[in-house]
């Protein structure tokens, strides 16, 4: 059990404490903050980013990155809209969106695993490609006349409570992700693959197959997020979720996942998603402009890595001081990609 909890020790705790602090500050600053409706709306707004952050966490743990998630979301949303406007049953259209997402992910996966191209470059390419396809599908049109039961899936709440439907989906998938990443052979393999893909290959782990699968999952999650987005806004347009990708990456990194792979936990990422959401909401409630939030988000992101590094440096300096003739010079290796 201690083994299982080991990854939760450091930054994850800090960021959950920050979430609590933000909750406390929020309720202190505005009476409207700690109400069921407000918290529900706050959570609902995070739906797509939270969902995509789950799979992005796995991708980044495995040492890759997927920058195309938001574009794939837009593409799937447009496909859903297009099919619906062509009188395809909504269930079938949803299925098609999911499959399209998985295919988009598979395309990334093929380029990264079969051809061995760097995922950063590949997904910058498909970021443009999928967004282009989204506009190609619907052009300047927007599809909006979705059936009520469908939009309720996104907009509604769980019977009588303020808990938005997409959050239920998110919590289920979050639990699933935690289990998969932290308690299954697959999850164990991902950490090894991220930390040292060569050693993982030599240990007989199917490195490429796992990575391919991750990209497919990531794409399918974009498809799912696309369905949620379309339902929440009852609107399929080419620019849906434009600009969502950096917040997703920021949330994952803020959650303590190492950009070099092999380190961090989903639990931290979930906290990070909510931290950003709570800050945004609380600041808006006291009429602090969005500008400040942008600065706060960026600073937090830097602090999430800088903080532990500085703490380690201070720690080692103190240790050294305890030794006679303490000097300090030790090359740090954080920068090695």
């Amino acid at each position: 059990m201690a083994e299982m909890l080991a990854p939760l020790r450091r930054w994850e705790v800090v960021i959950w404490l920050l979430v609590l602090l933000a909750l406390f500050l929020g309720s202190f600053l505005s009476p409207a903050f700690l109400t069921a409706d407000n918290l529900g709306n706050l959570a609902a707004n995070l739906s797509e980013i939270a969902l995509m952050a789950l799979t992005s966490t796995m991708v980044i743990v495995a040492g890759e990155i997927d920058l195309s998630v938001a574009s794939a979301l837009g593409m799937c949303s447009c496909l859903l809209g297009l099919l619906w406007s062509l009188h395809v049953p909504i269930a079938l259209a949803m299925l098609a969106a999911l499959i399209a997402g998985a295919l988009a992910g598979a395309f990334n996966g093929v380029l990264v695993t079969w051809l061995g191209l760097p995922s950063l470059a590949v997904t910058i390419g498909t970021l443009a490609l999928y967004r282009g396809l989204a506009f190609g599908l619907l052009g300047d049109k927007a599809v909006a006349d979705f059936p009520t039961f469908f939009t309720n899936l996104g907009f509604g709440t769980v019977m009588g409570t303020a808990l938005p439907n997409p959050m239920v989906l998110f919590f289920l998938l979050a639990v699933l992700t935690i289990l998969v990443l932290h308690a299954t052979p697959f999850g164990r393999a991902l950490y090894a693959i991220g930390a040292n893909p060569v050693a993982a290959t030599f240990a007989g782990l199917p490195v490429l197959r796992h990575k391919f699968l991750l990209f497919v999952l990531s794409g399918a999650m974009s498809g799912l997020a696309g369905i949620v987005y379309t339902a929440r806004f009852s609107s399929a347009r080419g620019d849906n979720a434009e600009g969502f990708v950096l917040p997703v990456v920021a949330a994952v990194l803020l959650g303590g996942i190492s950009i070099f792979g092999g380190k961090g936990s989903v639990i931290g990422v979930i906290a990070a998603v909510f931290l950003i959401g709570i800050l945004q909401n609380a600041l808006a409630l006291i009429d602090v402009s969005n500008d400040i939030l942008t600065i706060v988000t960026g600073s937090l992101l830097i602090a999430s890595v800088l903080g532990p590094n500085l703490a380690a440096a201070v720690e080692s300096r103190l240790e050294r001081r305890a030794l006679p003739g303490g000097r300090r010079r030790q090359p740090r290796r954080e920068n090695e990609a």
Binding site: A121, A128, L129, S258, I302, N309, A337
Partner: protein, 337 residues
Amino acid sequence: MSAAVAAERTGLFQALARVREVGLFAVLAALALATAAINPRFLGAQGVKDILEDVAVTALLCVGETIVLLMRQVDLSISSILGLTAYATGALFIAHPAMPIPLVMAIGAVGGAALGALNGGLVAWGGVPSLVATLGTLYVFRGADFAWVKGAQINATSLPGHFLGLATAGVGPVPFLALIVVGLIALSGYALRHYPAGREYFALGSNEEAARLAGIDVRRRLLLGFICCGAIAGFAGVLFTARFGTVDATAGTGLELHVIAACVVGGVAITGGVGSVEGAAIGALLLATISNALVSLRVPAFWEQTIEGAMLLAAISLDLVIARHTLALMRSGRRHG
């Protein structure tokens, strides 16, 4: 001893690098000529001037980004730095309309360098991975921009005519703007090849540990690399204002991924150590030419991004194929690994 190494082929990789740039140029020429065959205006004086104007700022940003990519780092904050100095330029001219242009350029570059130093400091001394650090400062700088500028806007009408003339006037179809940028590219390309400091950027990205052992001050080099990139982005902000005349708080948003895409298309390896500023600039020129050609060929605007993404993927895939082919050639040429 000679058995193992005698047959190791010479210079194939250098030859490959040449092939890369020549190949890009060939694609560029073929594309331009084909488009011009259909629409002669494309290569008319105005058409050429338009493309050069379009590409100048991006190509300049590519120079800075290339330096950072060579070190196996990345700088996502360039667009935010550009946004800040672009607005600052306008504000300066409004406050002091008689300000000499070189002074404004210097102020832009110095301001950008200061912001770049913050990035570099975080990476070199804070041990923050550059992707995280510059994603953070992307937010922080843009947030500062928002907070400073609010809803204000600089209009071309409030800028001195001779300053705007940088973009509009020139030698034949070549605007002064492009001449400045070409000059800077040539200068920095030459410096990277022929000065020890320039070679150190390649060395750093090629093998950081070896660089440290070779006595290269890695932190200082990292810091300087980011300062260069920041200074160039800052300077690009000044040119941006000259080029577009209109600047608000969102100037340059989203340029960073486009710039990285251009660098990669131009043969700069995202994995460090390989590439040239000239190649990156040609990459930028190619992307700009494509998007202009699409408009010239009356392709619906919606497909533009699709094609840009596909181009990027094609470029990196092609690189890979060539590299593998070369490697196979080398292997068959020598005996054993």
